[in-house]
Symmetry: C2
Subunit: 236 residues, 2 copies
């Protein structure tokens, strides 16, 4: 197979937790496309230097190299137009908002809830990089950032419009999942793979959607390796 996806991994090659990479895994599954996962760590900037930048996901599809999860979705729609992800120009414009909502509304509350679990899931060789970049970005130490009570309260507020939408529809994009679902769901996979924190009560309409998303595309999300599946993960 000539299609390769570079994905961030943690203490185990199969512990894949990047929200951005999860968007792409679902986008590929949506199109019915396979890709070989190439596990990657923050320290391995050289391994993806060919992409002209230093972050994953990086998709290598034959001769084509594409980075950035949203750009990969655009690429997939262009080259494999069947089963559109982003769709019409106005649908794509609206999809862009979901990216920002995931990153700026959902992620902050999740981060404050799971940050120390996340740190524990990261490859030991990546931890200093992670700590330095995140502490600079957030202007506080990881330990100061860690506040599940605050995080869950932030998340609860951020989820309000998602609840409204999922009370009326099974998926963000309607009767079947699409780009809007994948753009958001990456963050939920991020939290799920590295942490056992309960972010959603069973009664939450977002919980039902999460269950449907875990099951879709042959149980892609549900079968993903989690930190709890890794023996000794909590002893390091």
């Amino acid at each position: 197979m000539s299609r390769v996806l570079y994905e961030l991994c943690g203490i185990d090659d199969e512990l894949l937790f990047s929200p951005f990479c999860w968007r792409v895994r679902y986008a590929l599954a949506h199109k019915g496309l396979d890709a070989e996962t190439r596990p990657w760590r923050f320290a391995e900037k050289d391994a993806i230097a060919f992409s002209g930048q230093g972050l994953v996901p990086v998709l290598v599809d034959g001769d084509e190299v594409v980075s950035d999860s949203f750009e990969i979705m655009r690429y997939l729609d262009r080259v494999y137009p069947d089963k559109p992800l982003l769709g019409s120009p106005e649908a794509e414009a609206r999809a862009r908002f979901f990216k920002h909502y995931a990153e700026r509304s959902l992620a902050p509350g999740m981060m404050r809830t799971i940050v120390m679990d996340l740190y524990n899931a990261i490859d030991p060789g990546d931890r200093e990089y992670f700590r330095t970049t995140r502490e600079k970005r957030f202007g506080r130490t990881l330990e100061e950032m860690h506040s599940p009570a605050k995080g869950l309260s932030m998340l609860d507020q951020a989820l309000a419009p998602l609840r409204g939408r999922l009370e009326e529809s099974d998926f963000m994009d309607g009767e079947a999942p699409g780009a809007a679902d994948y753009l958001l769901f990456g963050n939920f996979m991020w939290a799920r793979t590295v942490s056992t924190a309960d972010l959603l009560s069973n009664a939450d309409p977002v919980h039902g959607w999460m269950e449907r998303m875990l099951d879709t595309h042959g149980g892609l999300g549900r079968s993903a390796k989690r930190i709890v599946d890794i023996q000794g993960a909590y002893d390091q």
Copy 2:
């Protein structure tokens, strides 16, 4: 003209402040359609009973009667397909999220900031209805709800994804405004018409969008009557 839009008005027949009605005014302008405004007050349930429910906006278009701002947008796209508002099915599915984001993320912070201004702008005959229904909905008195410091902080957090989107694009729907813009902008018109509270700093990308939205469709929003234009509004 046979097209009539029933719109909520306040202490003056021309003080139109309903966020839902503003969505429709912009949607009509987007299509290049005129409609005669029929000022309506909460106490006048009988006047719109023919619509089978008790809220505005109600659009009467010849023999057709449509209520609910989102349903009116759908109706307009069906009957006047030129210049689509909601667009393709996936674009419409995504637009529904903007409705919830406006009502559940933006509105609460705005409400806590402007609630007493809003109360002052409402027709005296409607105030008891407004107070009773809102105090029941929010579980506190209007005076307890009034907390601009809290409201502006809530709004600041809610605006984060909007800022991200408007840093990359002039409008939510791309180079020109569309349904996503109108669904959100209604709330900004709501606050603008009844209050002088500064919700956005000049440096905020949302401020730039607000200015563009006020100017679009011939300055529809900018020319709207505000509470500050009404002599004696603050003496009542």
